[in-house]
Symmetry: none
Subunit: 363 residues, 2 copies
DNA sequence: ACACAAGTAC
DNA sequence: GTACTTGTGT
C-alpha cells in the first residue's frame, strides 16, 4: 500500500474510550478469543483516554517501543480528528488489497491507494504482521472523512439505509445498523454509538494466518454510498483507517486505505486516476486496450431433445395466446416429423401446452 | 387547464371508505366548517364504498344528476386505479394555475398541463365552480402515478423525508408526515394511512370566494421530489387529481394536473416541452395547430396490455430458444408500435425475455 | 444559469 | 459500456 500523502494534522487519539471499554465488556464476554482483552480491560488503569507516550511494553520476547503516530503534538484534549498517518510499527503492520480480476465488484487503484466498490459488496483485505507476539492483537477499522474540513465529523449511515426495513439490515443487530463498515468475522465488535455522538468503528481479533501464509484475510463490506444524503456521507470522500491495537487500545500500527462506494466503481476509478495524473502532471503513455469481446462458445449437443421450462411474462392476453399457439405449432411440427421414433417426448409437451390453451389460466 | 383526452376506463372509486369516514369523524369534530359534513357522515347510509349510479340529488334549487366518470363499466370490486378523467360536472368545476412571473419558485406548462416546482415550495391553485349549492362541498387532492404500470401503486413519501427529524416535519402531526401533498388550509383533512396500505389524499372544505371573484385560492406544497428513492416516487411521474366532492364523497367534478417536483423546475420544464413538441411533430406530418393537449398514458382495462405469466415446458433447447425469440419478436413489435405512449410495459417485458435469452438458464 | 457529479436505464 | 437523468456547487 502506498504511503499516505495526506497533510492532515493527526493526533494520538486512538485509545479506547471508557464507553468503548464498557461496551466491549458487555459484548464480547462470550467470545473466547478476547477473554484476555476483557481481563486486561477490566483492570486497565489507562482509562483517561490519553496515550502513554514512548511507553515500554513487553510483547512476547521482544521489547518494543510503543510510539504514538505523531510526536510533534500533544493535544490537551482528545481530538476529534483521528490520525491517518501510515505507521507500520514494531510488527511491520501491512494492509493489502489483493489485485482482482475484472470479474469482482470492486477495483483497487494503486496510484490512488483507493478501493472503489458498490455498496453491499464484500471485499477482502489482507493483514500481515511480523514477529507476532503471544498477546492478543486486534484490528480496528474506522471510517473517516478524507477532507480536512470534514475530518472531525463522524461517519454515519444515511437515514434511508439505516432504516430497520432496509434489505441490508435483515437480521442485523440494532447497534450494528448504524455502522457503514461491516466485517464478516463473527467476532467483530461494533464500537461507538451515534446516539451518544461517538465515532464508530469495528474491531476484530487478529486471527492466526493459515499455515503456509503470513497474512490473514478478512471480508469487509460498506453499506452506504459516498453519495448517500446527510446525515450520510453526502458525497464527501472517506478513507478506512486500519489500526493494529493491543487489548488496551494502544496503537501498534496504522495503515490507511481510501475508499469510494459508488454505483460505477470502474468509471469513477478511471476518472479519478485521470484527474490524479493530470494534477501531478505525469503524463502516462499507458495505453489500455479494453478487450471486451466475450463470445460464449455455443456448444452443440448431439440430440436436442431435452425439456426446458420457460417462465416468461407476456403483456397482453392475445399475445400470450399467440406464444402458446406458436409453441404448440413448434412442438406439433417436431412430433409429426419424429413420429414414433422419438416423438413421444414432444407428445407429452403438446399435452402440457394444450392444457394451458384450453384452461383459462390467462385471467 | 386543458382538456384531458384520456381514453382510460375509470371506476367510481372516489367514494370515502368507511375508514376514511371514521377518520374524518375523529379528526374534524373541532372544525366548524365541516360540522355539517360530520353530521351527515355519521348518518350516511352509503358506506359500502360503491357509488349510486345516476342518483338524483338536490343541490340548492337545482336538480343535478350525479354521474360517475365513466358509465360504461361497473366493476365488481373497487379498483386500485383512480380515475383521472376530466369531468367538469354539474358545477363546471375548474382548477387553474395562475400564470406566474419568473420570480416564483414554480412554473406551469400549459401545453403539458404540468406544474414544475421544487420540494417544499408553496404554490397556489384556484378552484372555480358555478351555481354553488348550499351544501358543503369539498376538494380532495390525490397524488397518483401517471404511468399505467404504476398507477395502482399509492404515492408515499420516501423514508428520508418522512423522518420525524426532517426539517419539513417540524410541528407536523404524525399522520400528516406521510403525505407528499400538504395544504395550508387549516381545515385540511389528511386521509388514508400508509400503515394500512391505503391511498393518501388531502381534503379541504371549499371556501367561499372572496367578494368580487368567482374562484377560491388554496396553497399547496409537495414535500418529496419525484426523484426521492423507493418507497418514495423513485423518479416516476405523478399527477394530482382534484375532485370536487359532496359530504358523502360523491364526485361532482374532477380535474387533473401533472406535477414534477425537482431541483431545477425551469430546466426540466423546458426539456419536457422540447421532447413533447418533438414527439408531436414527427408522427403527424401535416397536423400542427389542432393538437394542443396531449394524450395521456393511462391504465386501461379495455386495452389488452396486462402481463401474463406463462410457464411452459418445451422439448429441445433450440425450440425453447425459438419460443423465446418469437416472444421477443411479438413484444418488440408491440413496443415499436406503441412507442413512448404505453410502450413501457412491453419494454419491461422485453427485458425479462432478454434475460432469459442471454443468460444460460437453458442448461 | 452553467457545468459537473453520480445514479440509473438501455 | 454508453447515454441520460437529475441533484449540487459555483
Ligand atoms: Zn446510505
Ligand atoms: Zn422524499
Amino acid at each position: 500500500m502506498n504511503k499516505c500523502e495526506s497533510e492532515v494534522m493527526s493526533f494520538p487519539s486512538d485509545i479506547l474510550s471508557q464507553e468503548e471499554q464498557d461496551e466491549i465488556l458487555r459484548e464480547i464476554s462470550d467470545i473466547p478469543d478476547v477473554n484476555e482483552m476483557v481481563h486486561i480491560l477490566s483492570n486497565n488503569s489507562n482509562i483517561n483516554g490519553e496515550n502513554d507516550f514512548n511507553e515500554e511494553k513487553e510483547y512476547k520476547d521482544k521489547i518494543v517501543i510503543v510510539v504514538p503516530a505523531n510526536e510533534h503534538s500533544i493535544p490537551p484534549i482528545i481530538s476529534n480528528i483521528l490520525s491517518n498517518e501510515e505507521y507500520p510499527g514494531p510488527f511491520e503492520f501491512e494492509v493489502d488489497i489483493c489485485p482482482n480480476g475484472s470479474k469482482n465488484p470492486w477495483v483497487y487503484s494503486p496510484p490512488l491507494n483507493k478501493i472503489f466498490m458498490d455498496m453491499n459488496s464484500p471485499f477482502p483485505v489482507d493483514f500481515k504482521i511480523k514477529n507476532r507476539p503471544q498477546n492478543s492483537l486486534f484490528i480496528r477499522v474506522t471510517p473517516v472523512y478524507s477532507l480536512p474540513q470534514h475530518s472531525q465529523d463522524f461517519v454515519y449511515r444515511c437515514i434511508n439505509h439505516e432504516h430497520p426495513m432496509e434489505t441490508s439490515n435483515r437480521n442485523v443487530k440494532e447497534n450494528v445498523r448504524q455502522h457503514i463498515i461491516r466485517c464478516s468475522n463473527s467476532s467483530a465488535i461494533y464500537l461507538g454509538d451515534k446516539e451518544k455522538s461517538q465515532r464508530l468503528s469495528v474491531a476484530i481479533p487478529l486471527s492466526l494466518p493459515q499455515s503456509g501464509t503470513e497474512s490473514v484475510r478478512e471480508m469487509f463490506q460498506f453499506v452506504c454510498k459516498n453519495s448517500c444524503p446527510t446525515p450520510g456521507m453526502n458525497r464527501r470522500p472517506i478513507e478506512a483507517i486500519f489500526t493494529l491495537e493491543d487489548v488496551s487500545g494502544h496503537v501498534l500500527g496504522r495503515q490507511t486505505l481510501r475508499v469510494r462506494i459508488c454505483s460505477c466503481p470502474k468509471r469513477d476509478k478511471e476518472k479519478e486516476e485521470k484527474e490524479h495524473s493530470d494534477n501531478t502532471r505525469l503524463p502516462r503513455g499507458k495505453k489500455r486496450k479494453v478487450e471486451k469481446s466475450e463470445k460464449k462458445p455455443v456448444a452443440s449437443s448431439d440430440v436436442d431433445n431435452k425439456e426446458y421450462k420457460l417462465t416468461l411474462n407476456i403483456v397482453g392476453k392475445h399475445n400470450a395466446q399467440q406464444v402458446l399457439k406458436y409453441s404448440h405449432d413448434l412442438m406439433a411440427g417436431e412430433y409429426i416429423r419424429h413420429g414414433s421414433n422419438g416423438g413421444e417426448v414432444y407428445k407429452n409437451c403438446l399435452n402440457g401446452i394444450n392444457n394451458l390453451m384450453i384452461f383459462p389460466t390467462l385471467k
